[in-house]
Symmetry: D2
Subunit: 377 residues, 4 copies
């Protein structure tokens, strides 16, 4: 699949950090869906840089040019192609990287894979700039999902050692899904998702957010970077989504999430914490809630046997620290075959997590819409 | 893809826990590969039950019947089909489950997805018994990989709160890959993989293994179960394996791993621990090792930009506790629509982790062979 | 895809002419479908050999062994695996073929492709025996299609120079679809499909059938073989099936049909004859038939822009003469590198067309069911 | 796949006849391939309209805007995106078609499939204008194929009842592949491909070409259109390309060819004529030609068992007459539900065949390059 994903709703990304343009083709969207471009652009702003101290100063207009697929703002059944310009590029920053790969970047592996023909400018096709068309696709899918009652959201779960509250009670303990007067079709009151997190630095707990910002600021001052975790929730999915064995919800969501740059781990429900739990604590008891089957805890993260069980899907993605730091690092010169030292200059985020929130939402949204469009439940 | 996986080497599983038979078709294997069935059977014994106190007493012969694809034990380019019998089945155990789904099992979701037509006996197609043909496919792929110098192995990284050593130095700290006199092509000395773990309870640290067994025995006594983590390593991959963005190594490996029953999390290299690291600690410095580019730590788990960098691939999969426990649990009656209580009888593992080790190895092996057969590096 | 086909309903064939067994896995069948095995077996008898003078004397029992996927004869949502035995094999016939490839067979190409490791016995995986599991899959799909009102049938359109009537008026002239009092939902009266052809030698015109048999008998006497054409019709498809550009109905049906051994051409509606027509003759005029849009001719074969238009799908597949003939033929010895002569012995059909009728029906049926299960119309 | 095709080299088309732009993303091209844009543009001119009496007067600049995938004119391993403008559009021509579908066009089926939301202007996504990005992809693939010694070409085989010579001796008789002093690696002398056909009206026999032009001119005068056949040859393929059963060369080539608008039939080698042949005439005798296995006739069209046998691949595609004619035609009004009459105005080709030649070449070229990139021979 390379830079494409999906069975029925198929996303094909293209572009490099400093190519003439970059974009996405979305093939298989249902016809007749109105797409609100204002809201798409608003969503894209969540991943845009240049807005505050926590992100790269590179600012692009990031206005999508819709070449096809919409007639009067409504999907017509033909592939939707959106293109973005790469106006604000600075090739000179990257010339030295052709010889000296940046540690923990894709420079070296892309060089070997593409026999030295890879586009080194700005990381080429491996640049996080490619999350722009990904988020465009996500924004489109989100609007269609919303029309079907499905909600997808995410918040910053941790930065460094600072943790936010969880959509459930947290990792490692049971994720309580019972809330007073919760109706199973009321997305906002299932779990404490009612506590929605707000961009541009979405946390459930405001003071945790302030502490995270401090960690980022402090790292940036030292020329360093820091990692974090994003938690994503999906509410109001029908029961029965996902296929047995391989094409299950977890496999497909993880597949999409690991395509977001810097993700090094993905977990569902209690996730890694479940490894140190007993079955008697972990298992989610079923109960009837006015004719609907629900579970009183949600350690399964809404997925049983790879298939949605009607509870909120809860997942977490771990992000490594931004590999670009201003501190001097050890590397090698691929041309001379000698060890060397490298100082990465250019524009970089001290922490990718805030801008990665819409990327996680997008990866989830395109996967879920593809499932819904393919599903025979 | 449902119960199939792969682009070039394609695996199609079939069977239910109590159907007449179950098995796998492997399409796209290279021709001319000798398959040693003794070694295949030996590998399958690692996932077989009925061997000791840590696993289910259900014992099947598990001898593969090769219907096609081999001529005199050598692959002939045609799909290889292996079938296993389901001799030792006990349908009666499961009859009540048609009405009352077991908590944290797939009973409920399968019931809804398949409109009540799902095979409930033994969990049907969702049974962990389907890992038998998965492991068969894994065993075949392993032999072909081995002939190409690629090694895949795994060990029990944790059970409950008891942790084994890691292939690196451990989660959360730098994974040191420098070992004295290590040659990059010498699989056994790259990292401390030299410390190979032995079945049927493979740990790197023997005393950790003993403590884990005690945890399992204690849980079993109480009618409870316990979770754990498996760490997998892949040695001697060429640099450049994996495609950009979606078809990257992490996405594809995670996709396969989440198909192993009970997996709730997957991470690579430092994984979730990288979220609380600074870039200056996390980044893996490059250095030249006799003409070969290596990194002195391996927090990236051998993958940069989704592409293999020549270092060992290190990943971990978190397993939830076996959902089947003998303790009474709350559930619902799907026929009466009332809350009820359930006590699961039948044969179950108190901890799936020991038997899941070959499953993790298999998921990794089939993914890697598919990449190698598809790749143009 | 190699020996597999399908997006949602996926068919994976396996087996060789003389392997222990051969069969098929069908993944993605809807759950809750009753499969009548009597009718499946009856359908399989249509492709069985050893029944009369027009086919090979090799007779196999061809009774499917259902390993999985059915519970009490009803699909359960898990992959359905059916296995057939290869009891009546005679390896000795084929030993010389390892060195001397039969003209117009796959012996030479399989030898090169699989580096000499291919199974030469009976043509191995390239044997027409592999149409047995294909027809099994077809028979299953046909029953599900029938339940949805869709009918698929085929007849022998020509053998040598002898032509049957067509489902329309014939190739090259307009295919008239108007029949008195035809209701669009009455499959049997749309076009003259009411004139159904009966196995084992299905023609619409009985006397044409007799003449065809004479041609085959005469060819067989001379140790020769002869080709022919099969016409297939699909009735009562909903309007709107098929995707734009690549995944259109014609591309997908042709893809499946060219997988039937010996097919060298596929055409839809007026097909090749349309190449010598004027637009004013070819174009199918629309008219309203009691609220339903129909066309008064059907040169399009029920497909416009790759999408079903509600008229019967009409297609034809051309079969080359059976490559195995008893007459001496020129070939080469791959071991000595010299020209040589070959006389093919063994059991062979003088004309594959009669037995290929259920294969064409099957290729069409599995494609159409896959479309119906995937479609969002 | 909808508007996408390919396993390793993947083509995704987008755009509508009158959308802002249209184009293609080619993902999976090998890195390091120089693409000569002059030659690409030259190839695109072969399908451009507005050049002579035999094609539509709509003239577009058709200059590709390369957004990504090339660095200094060389592929960099990232998806190549090319965009074309739709400058010369005339929406007004098509407004009435929303209610009254043109006979034998996709108007009606697209209307039903997309619930009336389809883009009707110029046929929207179903317009033959989408063959522009298809040909762009073809032109790129052709240059890479050429570098590997593979040649793909095509000529007008027939228009109406006028026939050109064939690459072989013609349909229905043996295709003679022996030419004096032919070296198997010399593409131009294998078969009479040496008689290359020249654009813009490529025929092997010049006087046949003149007669065809007369047929087209005469049809155009009457406001009518006419069909034809295109023959395509592929030279110098390695032996062993193609997979058994489904993913065979014929299935894959036919799949791509039926995506070219107006194609209603595809055949290989002797094709439909083989249906009236005896095995003794049809079978292609093998012989040794200086160490290379060849066949003295080529009725198989270079494909045995779905796999290339080293002889030229020969195929033919039948095109129906252009559905748009100026003569009055019967249709229906979808809004009133009444029968009506329609006269199609606007710009149309009296015969699509001359402009379809590069489309056939492109469909073949992208399929073959995908096979070569995926193959393990």
């Amino acid at each position: 699949m390379s830079s494409g994903i999906g069975n029925k709703v198929k996303i094909q990304l293209f572009g490099q950090s400093h190519s003439r343009g970059l974009g996405v083709v979305i093939d298989g969207l249902p016809a007749g869906e109105k797409i609100d471009m204002e809201r798409v652009t608003e969503f894209l702003r969540r991943r845009a840089g240049g807005r505050n101290a926590y992100s790269t100063p590179r600012a692009e207009a990031d206005v999508p040019d819709i070449l096809s697929g919409l007639v009067n703002g409504v999907t017509c059944g033909a592939p939707l192609c959106a293109v973005f310009e790469n106006a604000n590029t600075r090739g000179a920053d990257y010339e030295r990287l052709r010889a000296v790969p940046r540690p923990s970047h894709a420079d070296y592996t892309a060089h070997v894979k593409h026999s030295g023909y890879n586009d080194v400018n700005g990381g080429g096709h491996f640049s996080a700039r490619l999350t722009l068309p990904l988020c465009f696709a996500g924004a489109v899918c989100l609007q269609i999902l919303e029309r079907r009652g499905v909600k997808v959201d995410a918040h910053i779960f941790s930065v460094g050692d600072v943790k936010d509250d969880g959509y459930g009670d947290g990792i490692g303990t049971s994720i309580n899904t019972e809330t007073e007067n919760a109706s199973p079709k009321d997305a906002d009151t299932q779990t404490n998702a009612a506590r929605m997190a707000s961009p541009p630095f979405p946390t459930l707990n405001e003071s945790a957010g302030e502490k995270m910002k401090a960690v980022i600021t402090e790292a940036a001052k030292r020329g360093d970077s820091v990692g974090g975790i994003i938690e994503c929730g999906i509410w109001n999915l029908p029961v029965g989504l996902g296929e047995p064995i391989f094409d299950n919800l977890e496999s497909r969501l993880a597949y999409a999430l690991f395509a977001v740059p810097a993700v090094k781990g993905v977990e569902f429900g209690a996730g890694f914490a479940s490894a140190s739990m007993y079955g008697s604590e972990y298992n989610d008891p079923f109960y009837m809630d006015g004719g609907t089957v629900r579970t009183s805890t949600n350690n399964s993260g809404g997925i049983l046997g790879g298939i949605s069980n009607g509870m909120p899907i809860i997942l977490r993605a771990a992000f490594k620290p931004t590999p670009s730091i201003s501190l001097p690092q050890k590397s090698v010169n691929l041309q001379t075959g000698e060890d060397t030292e490298l100082t990465v200059t250019g524009r970089h985020d001290p922490c990718v997590v805030p801008r990665a929130v819409p990327c996680v939402i997008s990866a989830a949204a395109i996967t879920i819409l593809d499932f819904l469009e393919t599903a025979r439940i």
